[in-house]
Symmetry: C2
Subunit: 370 residues, 2 copies
């Protein structure tokens, strides 16, 4: 049975540099703990992994923010560490401390034992993608995602989150051969994973390089960017007759935009330290041509402030990108509004309303000005 | 009694764009927990504040790394939070959790109660500066320092360290008037503090904007850079007939170098995400003329790797800066070697030897090539 036709394709068109009536908006981690209905589903599921691995729960929480807000895209609810978990590292969550692996990857033997996992072990993710796509009924497009090879490596070698990345960096500097092997396995696994998400119904895919920005200049290019490239090379450009836009987000990557612009992707995600107008000059040309669409980049902390501050800062981000491209006959620089990182669990839900309304209203006004 | 004449002025000359025989090197947090002799003194002192507030202990630990390594500068051993402590916020250290204030600054009344502290409350710091300068006996110059107004504000409003800076950012976005008042008090306090360090014997001063990089583009300029400028405006250019070079280090500030280059300082400190060669093109001209000397920027994690990796990466940093300026008759772009952030407590002390030797040897060779 084919999926329902798409009613709001603003996000997909903006990804591809096509003119849109307003700036589409979605929020990283939009299905999450700041929503009381998410916390209720989470409580029923018993645990985070109970939530993430159950198709019905994953579908339910993915749609929750769309029922509240006029968001222009949905993003698969899942964890960033499903792939190394499927490799057998034993993902679990320690209360208040975030993700942990039972078996960290530290030695030559640990690295040698790694392999691209059987994708059947990730069937629950692909089933969730199909279920969500059906439940969306064409309201907005569905974004699939994965952590980048480097970001997965950080968690795999550290054994969990880290403040200083000492273990993974020690391996990188002392045994670059091991690090390259680990990253090659990760890249091929991520490529398989995203391909299957696309086949299951994802209409766009995003690579989260959450920890690319902790790398030194040069090391970023060698150990993060090169393996994101290896992922992208293995993805289909189209599926079922539709182009599948690709988004790459590197937190802390603002100094490396020119290098990232050479990736075979359509959109670059930017954190809040990047000046959007300057980024547009540097790399924000015509997607598919010499440039990328830009996605971002409000500081998530703004959503903790007053409604007046949210309006002011959201308008500031839109104006920083500058006059939008409005010619329907060609492609040009486009802006997809998002936060510069995931939404905070402390965000009052009514503040998200203010943000979405402001972005839609003000970006329409900007198009009337030009 | 005047201080002893300086025997090694390589660091000071490099700060001012003068040609040197090799690249001077010192390390942020070089007097610290990675050294067993530091841990022994710390144990005798009983607590971190017992160490930092005692002139003899502070002198002892400041000199410890100089007895081990051929470093080209000493830096005052002190804490970054002495100034807000002197404002009455009650600094203390919780084991394993870092600094805390008994009274966080959260409300309008809290901010209104802040004032530039009586510098007599910081007498122990100035006495330490004089004691260290005497103990150095002219071996190398002594750098004084302070946290930047914004970085102090982060700790003051959060009440300690933070992962997300939600409290300080909520105030910044919701009540910018309060944040500006807080920062103005901090800037004037830091200026007094650094002026007195200079009078006590500091031969260079450094402003650590450790948390400037957590700010959004634009907010950085308004809430961090503007108040660092306010500090610099109040400092003397010379003392006792000697120019006092000024260093500004913003961790995560690589995207804002052009704006930082307009500060009235001589040196910009860079973290490891910055490409030194590109930074030299952007802002690394003639200090005192159109540019700044550059200080940095090896990833501190490199010191955890093998000696071979340390050599390779240190050479990489030197070569990234490129051919040094060698003409004694003029000023030009200069490089002061440092880490991109403080040295890790997990660093094997013998690894620092490898680094210092490599930097001195290879930077001499580079000068013979030109």
């Amino acid at each position: 049975m084919p999926f329902a036709p798409l009613q709001n394709d603003t996000f997909l068109r903006a990804c591809l540099g096509q003119a849109t009536e307003y700036a589409p908006i979605w929020l990283m981690r939009q299905a999450g703990r700041y929503l009381p209905e998410y916390r209720a589903t989470r409580a029923r599921a018993g645990s985070f992994m109970g939530l993430a691995t159950n198709v019905d729960y994953a579908t339910e929480v993915t749609l929750q923010p769309l029922d509240r807000y006029a968001l222009d895209a949905a993003i698969l609810f899942s964890d960033i560490l499903t792939v190394p978990d499927a490799m057998g590292l034993g993902l679990h969550f320690v209360n208040g401390e975030g993700p942990r692996f039972e078996r960290a990857v530290r030695t030559e033997a640990d690295v040698a034992a790694l392999a691209v996992p059987d994708m059947e072990r990730l069937r629950y993710v692909f089933d969730a993608v199909t279920s969500i796509r059906r439940a969306l009924g064409g309201r907005v497009p569905l974004i699939g995602f994965s952590g980048s090879p480097w970001t997965l490596a950080c968690y795999m070698v550290e054994g969990g989150g880290s403040d200083d990345y000492h273990h993974v960096k020690r391996m990188l500097y002392s045994r670059p051969d091991l690090m390259h092997r680990l990253l090659a396995v990760n890249a091929d696994a991520v490529a398989h994973y995203l391909r299957q998400q696309i086949e299951a119904g994802a209409q766009s895919v995003m690579v989260f390089d959450s920890w690319g920005g902790v790398l030194a200049d040069g090391a970023f290019h060698t150990f993060s960017l090169a393996y994101t490239r290896r992922v992208l090379e293995q993805l289909p450009r189209e599926h079922a007759g539709q182009v599948i836009p690709r988004i790459v987000f590197t937190k802390g990557g603002g100094q490396w935009l020119e290098a990232m612009a050479e990736l075979d992707c359509d959109v670059l995600g930017l954190d809040w330290t990047v000046n959007l107008g300057a980024a547009r000059q540097r790399v924000g040309g015509v997607p598919g041509g010499p440039g990328k669409a830009l996605q971002g980049n409000l500081d998530p902390a703004v959503l903790l402030a007053t409604p007046e501050a949210i309006e002011r800062e959201a308008v500031g981000v839109l104006e920083s990108f500058g006059p939008p491209h409005t010619d329907p006959s060609r492609r040009g620089p486009t802006h997809i509004f998002n936060l510069g990182h995931g939404i905070s669990l402390h965000t009052p839900p009514e503040h998200v309303h203010v943000l979405v309304e402001t972005v839609h209203r003000h970006s329409r006004q900007m198009r009337q000005r030009t």
